[in-house]
Symmetry: C2
Subunit: 453 residues, 2 copies
């Protein structure tokens, strides 16, 4: 730790590395880099554009490569794995814990995966296969098989002596030992803090905590995260359908779940995937984004087609063309607010079919108030601008209708999409825009055709 | 734990409570409710509309009220605090840890705050005042003063005996003891796991870990969260400018920071605040949202004004009115993708002024490819639809220009806004829409006026 890395912020550090890289001092840069934690090295790699990323990757100590790979997001990891041959990948995979290996293996080409599997000893292979048998976004997929279990009838003193004899210490992020029956069924947890502060002659059964509920292996990652957040857990045991302990989930993996979920929601509304690398190759990014632009183009053309139905009307009253984006936009904004609230409500488990009625009636009341308020404002401006009370009346009506339709869609869409297994964070926005464009243009131009011609 | 709460999911539980509430069995509902963890009670309250929320709040055990308040989001907490008098608030505040009290006090009316302060003993008041002296979103604001420190020269055996003599156990989420010098300066941490697995005759200095870097009290909450995520920390010491240990940050508070940050990004893009209660009173919601609708209306009218400049052109070629939303929309989508990526990059510390050049050139390359691709598609459709090669050529040019302008703004806006202290998650989207609307309409209608009339 001779480099001043500890007090500098991430960007300073990257900046420093850039400078050293540019000065051409590879040895100094290598030394600086390998003084960092694997997660920090991953962070640096992700902040670098691909050409520099390749150079820096070559500087990483062989022993740290596996860990660094784990901390990279999917895109950058794929990019780096593509540049490695099977031998290098095997070497990197060597020192990893089984649950970490499981994460990594899922990104490998099938041929390399089977090589990795056959390079493992019996026990590790079995554990890896168990870990791989659960979906990545379930408690089973998140869990760690590295844990310490104790029996309820022994005394704390026996536990203390047992721990001191363990040659390789305790697994990382161990805040409790899992108390199991002879059959391996979950009974409770013994917090290390309780182990340290209670009488060594007490039995585990007397001191253990009963209110940490074990997590079923098929629980969804999102539910696991919500539970960790609510109960301030550091680790929690995972059980199978028979109550047997399979492993445990630790808070570091839960933080990743929360971050990924958040990324998914935030990036999803722009049609980006959560593994998106900021410096992904141009062609890869362009291809992915093209799909999203194409889907949105369909929406835009649907809107254009609706406008096209009223060409004759617009030809006579050009003011309609001037004002129509205002109608669509007000609906879009109001609907997005409700949609966003509903998507988050579902993610946090606050919103379900049981209380959707409340949300809808509240949001519709809000929409009615704001719809009328802004309809009046827009009508006033339109009247001053074009001096036509007819246009003013029609734009006010159209805005009110569109805001109400947008809000109703915004509230109902997420639960509806969720029920059909479609991800609301991805599809919600596009569908909502379609609704607000179509309803906006149709009501405004339609009413104008009926009453102004 | 006689109720089947442990195996049912959150929504089932809320559902069950609803049923019991509707059946009018207040006693049963009260019993069910108070069997839950305070965080779960808070969750239930947040899933209920205000009238039912008041009823359920009255059922909560007095002793649990303080804790439940802590887990509520700002809006719901304010609502409930407004319904309590000073005596009730004082009673609820009684059993809370100092850092939790600090969170709560910030939401109280000033008169109640001073009552709370004067009701505390000397030591607790001092600690509370220290906690309140740091901004809420800094390490000092997040930290907990409840911690155990040890000196480096003592043996593990001394530490073990000291811990066993502590009457009130160890603070929650204690994974390590903080090793300090005689002057209270930070030296390292002693993990409980190391304390348990090493020879009791070893000294703390021999066993302690040096590579947990202490966090300066003025570090931003976001940086603290990034560090916890990167280094898989459970707790970390907080120091003042002289290196003296002030307290520690624990992972439960960090999870809250990550969630709030994520909420802020996700809700912010729709102009909602992160404390937003899904069931907030209609008038409150309406007033808050009205502001956002008003700001966006300005944008919409700016766009309308641009279109208005070309009324004469549209009168002659109505097809322009039909197609113009397509031009604005393609720019909006492409720009939002880049904007979203840049906002996230800044939040994660991956993007700074040092590597923005790379992001811009990569995004512009992507924009050029996609702009040309979709410009060609749109031009083809426009040509088929209106049979005018002039319109086709002009819409292709306008889309390409708009996608490029949108992408450039999307990439540069977040850093620019950040530099001026404006929150990109809030303002980025509105400004971007303004750019894509104005550039889209101006280029499309402007080019048409120049070349088609």
């Amino acid at each position: 730790m001779t480099e001043p890395t500890e007090t500098t912020s991430d960007t300073d550090r990257i900046d420093l590395l850039h400078q050293v890289l540019e000065s051409g001092s590879v040895r100094k840069a290598t030394r600086m880099l390998n003084a960092l934690h694997p997660a920090e090295i991953a962070h640096v790699l992700q902040s670098l554009p691909p050409p520099q990323r390749k150079i820096v990757w070559r500087m990483v100590d062989d022993a740290a490569e596996g860990e660094v790979l784990l901390y990279l997001n999917d895109d950058v990891r794929d990019e780096i794995l593509r540049g490695m041959d099977a031998t290098e990948i095997l070497a990197a995979a060597e020192g990893l814990a089984v649950d970490d290996l499981a994460d990594l293996v899922q990104d490998l080409p099938a041929t390399v995966t089977s090589e990795v599997l056959s390079s493992l000893d019996e026990q590790r292979r079995e554990r890896l296969e168990t870990a791989l048998s659960y979906p990545e976004d379930s408690a089973g997929g998140l869990m760690n098989t590295d844990m310490v279990t104790v029996r309820p009838e022994v005394t704390l003193d026996v536990v203390l002596r047992y721990l001191r004899r363990r040659k390789d210490g305790l697994p990382e992020i161990t805040d409790n030992l899992i108390v199991v029956s002879r059959q391996g069924r979950y009974l409770g947890v013994l917090y290390l803090t309780d182990l340290l502060t209670n009488d060594p002659d007490d039995s585990v059964a007397e001191v253990m905590t009963l209110d940490v509920q074990p997590i079923p292996a098929d629980a969804k990652a999102r539910e696991v995260a919500n539970r960790f957040e609510q109960l301030d857990l550091v680790s929690a045991p995972v059980i199978d359908a028979d109550g047997r302990v399979l492993g445990r989930v630790t808070v570091d993996d839960v933080m990743d779940v929360i971050r990924e979920e958040a990324d998914h929601q935030f990036l999803g509304h722009a049609g980006l995937s959560e593994g998106e690398d900021m410096f992904a190759p141009v062609l890869l990014s362009a291809r992915r984004r093209a799909v999203w632009l194409g889907i949105n183009l369909l929406t835009a053309f649907l809107a254009a087609w609706v406008i096209g139905l009223f060409e004759a009307t617009i030809e006579q009253i050009v003011a309609l063309a001037v004002l129509m984006p205002v109608v669509a936009s007000m609906g879009g904004i109001a609907g997005t607010q409700t949609l966003t609230l509903a998507i988050r409500g579902i993610a946090l488990g606050h919103l379900s079919a049981k209380n959707i009625r409340w949300l809808v009636s509240k949001e519709m009341a809000v929409a009615m108030l704001n719809g009328l308020l802004w309809a009046a404002v827009v009508a006033g401006i339109a009247w001053l601008w074009f001096g036509s009370s007819g246009i003013a009346a029609i734009i006010a009506t159209a805005i009110t209708l569109n805001v109400l339709a947008a809000t109703l869609s915004g509230a109902l869409l997420p639960l509806l999409l969720d029920r059909f297994g479609i991800d609301p964070a991805l599809a919600g926005g596009v569908i909502l825009t379609t609704v607000t464009d179509v309803v906006g243009f149709l009501s405004f131009l339609g009413l104008a055709s009926l009453f102004l011609l």
